[in-house]
């Protein structure tokens, strides 16, 4: 969910009407937005839709509100032809194969416009462009560029230019090493022998996408009159709407858009293309989903408010909508626009009266029962994360490392594997509570995740119980008494069978056997393990599989 900043005055200016803040709060719902904070003139707005970049700017929000107020239908965007040509080198294939471009003339940029353009570009990069991987957008001072422009590739040390905020010309390799943006996005170019470059007729570099623009031409200011915009990436289905969104916003600010001829090795594209799109919808379908019982005429009006042109044809409505709406894939998407225009809070909620089966799953019922018994035995329930680390579950328990479910992109080395038993969670809890009054009797009912090649997901969750006593007098007999009380209460017949386990003291550890199968372990923790957890109290504990039957 993108959060954007906007000037209240500026927003009213683009809408073309001064709207009281309270009224604006309601109107902004039409742009799937919600005013989160008001700080003087600055509004912080959450836009709910992360698939509609056209809404992520003052211009986009204003468009939706204006639509509802004036019922303008599909906005028209006029594009003139420029004679600017961008040729794409065949070397770009496999590196960064596609670009779409536009020329914007007669910009009237004040600080508000500038901040909106930069913000929109940033939101497109991060949200819609998967952090510049799919989309890198560059905006340049057109008057500092000499067309035709080439989109090509250079070796890391094959060319030099001064990146944004740098005076000195440095190689592409140096940019990746030294420039903050180079360091941030170097992973997107790692492994390529040559890097993508936009370069003009004077052999001046415009940019190295998706990393950085040149300091000379790659920025716009309040003084910029004309601009050149390009979007580069791997897939036109992302690049085209991204460019359209920015171009539409600048048109709304009074600029004039000119098209660019992009020449690929095997095809030619004229961009941007803001020709409106067409579709249609059944009146019955709208009513089936919404239950609003709207007439064709009513639906037409609601859709005109949502910036569609409409034509009622019997039970159908023919629709024309703006090219920046890349999100419309199914009649459902249009139904939502009808409902948004209608107003969510004007709809009366109806509770469906369905007769259904209900209930809590057996595993949870049983877990709850076990937890109730354990508390009645004087144990405090705790709740831990299922994520932990290898040190906790192996070396600190005096065990050899085994294969466990391991995370590749962990946020922290503290939480990068799934626990394969519960006891380490208990030990960790104890070591956090060394100075709390003893005896400390605790338990946890929770899942562990084990590798199981036979399963669909190569893993298996097991619900387990671990209980432990820490006290100067804690010992095998006491914990065995607790286990006995629990299993008796559950009507489970069990045996204890002497065993060895490196986490426990030899001679004070046993397997818990139910129906000839081991379901757990009970014993006194070895002082070596206690020391690893910095515990100075004896701990006696058991751990059992609750899915034993």
């Amino acid at each position: 969910m993108p959060t954007i900043g906007a000037s209240y005055k500026d927003l009213c200016k683009v809408i073309g009407k001064k709207i009281p803040v309270e009224e604006l709060k309601d109107l902004i719902l039409y742009s799937k937005g919600e005013i989160d904070e008001i700080d003087g003139d600055l509004l912080k707005i959450d836009i709910k839709d992360s698939n509609r970049p056209d809404l992520w700017s003052t211009e986009g929000i204003a468009r939706e509100i204006k639509g509802r107020l004036e019922q303008i239908g599909c906005p028209k965007y006029e594009i003139k032809k420029s004679d600017v040509v961008v040729s794409v080198d065949k070397k770009n294939k496999g590196v960064r194969p596609y670009t779409v471009c536009a020329v914007v003339k007669n910009l009237k940029i004040d600080l508000d416009v500038l901040s909106q353009i930069i913000q929109l570009q940033e939101k497109i990069h991060t949200t819609f462009g998967s952090n510049r991987k799919e989309i890198a957008m560059g905006i340049y001072d057109y008057d500092r560029i000499k067309p035709p422009i080439r989109f090509t590739t250079f070796k890391p040390e094959g060319i030099k230019f001064a990146p944004l905020d740098f005076e000195e010309e440095i190689t592409l390799k140096e940019i990746l090493e030294k420039h903050p943006k180079g360091k941030e996005f170097v992973h997107l170019l790692t492994g390529y022998e040559e890097y993508p470059i936009f370069i003009d007729a004077n052999n001046k570099v415009l940019s190295m996408p998706p990393i950085i623009n040149s300091n000379y031409s790659g920025k716009i200011t309040e003084k910029t009159k004309n601009a050149f915009i390009e979007c580069s990436g791997f897939n036109l289905k992302f690049l085209v709407p991204a460019l359209n969104v920015v171009v539409a916003a600048l048109t709304d600010r009074g600029a004039e858009i000119q098209s660019v001829k992009v020449i690929y090795p095997k095809k030619v594209m004229i961009t941007p293309d803001l020709t409106p799109k067409k579709t249609s919808i059944d009146i019955d379908y709208v009513n089936k989903i919404s239950e609003l019982n709207l007439s064709g005429k009513e639906i037409c009006k609601l859709l005109q408010q949502a910036n569609y042109d409409t034509e009622l044809k019997g039970k159908k409505i023919e629709l024309v909508y703006p090219a920046y709406r890349q999100d419309i894939m199914h009649p459902r998407d249009i139904v939502e626009d009808v409902i948004i225009s209608y107003g969510y809070n004007k709809i009366e909620p109806i509770v469906s009266k369905l007769k259904t089966e209900s209930g809590i799953v057996e595993k949870e019922m049983f877990s709850n029962k076990v937890s109730e018994i354990m508390t009645s035995l004087g144990f405090q329930e705790i709740l831990s994360y299922t994520l932990t680390n290898k040190e906790n579950i192996f070396s600190k328990m005096n065990l050899k490392e085994e294969t466990v479910v391991e995370i590749e992109n962990a946020v922290s080395a503290n939480w990068n594997v799934f626990r394969n038993w519960l006891l380490p969670s208990m030990m960790e809890f104890y070591s956090n509570n060394q100075h709390v009054k003893y005896p400390q009797n605790i338990f946890e009912v929770g899942d562990v995740v084990l590798i199981d090649e036979k399963q669909e997901t190569k893993t298996r969750d097991i619900r387990k119980l671990s209980a432990a006593m820490a006290d100067s007098r804690a010992g095998y007999e006491k914990i065995a008494a607790a286990l006995d009380a629990l299993l008796n209460k559950l009507n489970v017949k069990y045996l204890l069978k002497k065993t060895r386990h490196d986490s426990f003291i030899e001679g004070r550890v046993a397997e818990i056997i139910v129906k000839n199968k081991p379901i757990g372990i009970i014993g006194e923790i070895h002082p070596y393990v206690l020391k690893k957890w910095k515990m100075e109290m004896p701990i006696a504990t058991f751990e059992i599989n609750l899915e034993y039957s």
């Binding site: 509609r52 819609f128 239950e291 609003l292 469906s352 329930e381 994360y385 298996r460």
Partner: protein
């Protein structure tokens, strides 16, 4: 101290007199100085012992059924010995032997000796009343040290920690019960999922921003799971390729990951030929690589579910959200907003007016896209919802750091 002590019998005789002496006393008090056994058998305790000793000592004579007193003994030797031993004085070997033969005296145990010594050491005052002190009877005649019964502030009060449920877990259980009461059935699913169930089955295209709406974890090991039935896989593939216009890759869908949301369980439920109409819910642990702070824990629970049935509409969606707001959050008023999920259209969010928290975002929802439900074999509308219950839990537990839901603080849990 003496090595010997009275047995129970010895103690009894010391207190109530020897039975033979009691028998003599009784006969002596009768006018004829005699009586039939039948008359007096119940008047003297341990009658048979008493009779045996009186006959042996020739104090009485037995004629038929009658007992006749011959002479009354003067000496009270045994009584004196009993008293001596009871007071811990030494008696000679010969006397001891007689007493032990009559089982009136026994050798004192090690425990007795130790306990006795301990009490002597502390000046014959009992500090802590123990099992041994009670068993040996050594408390008799001793003074007990007073304790601070009024518990002056100088003494730190020992606290008893009763066993308690973890409060957040208890809260989740209460929500479970509530949802079951509202007619929902709980769903299950694995912690580690294939991308197929986390993304593809929910119509989130591969290599697309709609799939990266949230950051997710990937696994170092294991890497790939299995795909479900061919029919379902083919349906999902066709849906993606027709709708999102790209070549769907089964290998990507097989990748394993810790589930990032509970919606995978809804997808699995729909694909598993559920009862229709049906109402389903899940409360499950979810995993996302968020930077950990007061708003983001290492793991979190999602509460969500679906309602599937003929003729369900957007109004029903708002209806169920409102029900949740009233029943689960105790809301007095609700407001609806538009919302966005890659797998629902239309979508709606509910804000609830909580009596103390004010307006809170409480529920997100939508009608599952047809491109999602049809490949899973469901043609009826499916209303999908999720509840933000952690905010309520935090309010209830009076905490403002979400990490505290999984508290590591035993003192806090005990309170």
């Amino acid at each position: 101290m003496s090595e010997y002590k009275l047995t129970k019998e010895g103690e009894e005789y010391l207190k109530n007199g020897l039975p033979e002496k009691n028998l003599v006393k009784l006969l002596n008090s009768l006018p004829k100085k005699s009586a039939s056994i039948g008359e007096i058998v119940n008047k003297v305790k341990n009658f048979s012992i008493a009779m045996k000793w009186c006959l042996d000592e020739k104090w009485i004579e037995k004629k038929g059924d009658n007992l006749i007193l011959i002479k009354a003994p003067e000496e009270k030797k045994i009584e004196k010995l009993l008293k001596k031993i009871d007071e811990g004085e030494d008696v000679n070997e010969k006397n001891l032997k007689i007493m032990m033969e009559r089982n009136l005296v026994t050798k004192i145990s090690e425990t007795y000796k130790k306990t006795h010594e301990a009490i002597s050491k502390s000046g014959n005052v009992i500090d802590e009343l123990t099992h041994d002190i009670i068993r040996t009877g050594l408390w008799k005649g001793k003074k007990f040290n007073s304790v601070d019964v009024e518990k002056s502030k100088k003494i730190k009060l020992g606290k008893i920690a009763p066993g308690k449920r973890q409060p957040y877990n208890q809260f989740l259980w209460d929500v479970r019960k509530k949802l079951a009461e509202l007619g929902f059935k709980e769903m299950v699913g694995p912690t580690i999922e294939t991308e197929f169930w986390n993304f593809d089955s929910l119509y989130q295209p591969q290599h697309h921003p709609a799939r990266t709406w949230t950051q997710t974890y990937s696994l170092k090991y294991p890497n790939f799971g299995k795909l479900p039935d061919k029919k379902i896989v083919d349906g999902v593939k066709a849906s993606h390729e027709n709708g999102w216009k790209y070549k769907w890759d089964p290998r990507t869908a097989m990748k394993l990951m810790p589930r990032a949301h509970g919606t995978c369980l809804s997808a699995r439920t729909l694909a598993g030929k559920p009862k229709i109409p049906g109402k389903y819910f899940a409360i499950v642990r979810c995993y996302r690589p968020d930077v950990i702070d007061y708003k983001h824990g290492v793991e979190f629970n999602q509460t969500e579910g679906i309602i599937v049935g003929e003729d369900l509409t957007f109004k029903n969606l708002l209806g169920i959200l409102k029900t949740f707001a009233i029943e689960v959050a105790g809301a007095k008023k609700v407001k609806f907003f538009s919302d966005y999920y890659p797998f629902t259209e239309p979508s709606a969010q509910l804000s609830a007016l909580h009596p103390e928290l004010g307006w809170i975002e409480f529920a997100g929802s939508g009608i599952f896209r047809e491109e999602l439900t049809r490949p899973l074999g469901v043609s009826q509308p499916v209303l999908a919802w999720g509840l933000g219950i952690d905010r309520l839990a935090m309010f209830k537990l009076k905490i403002d750091d979400i990490r505290e839901l999984f508290s590591r603080n035993l003192e806090w849990l005990r309170r």
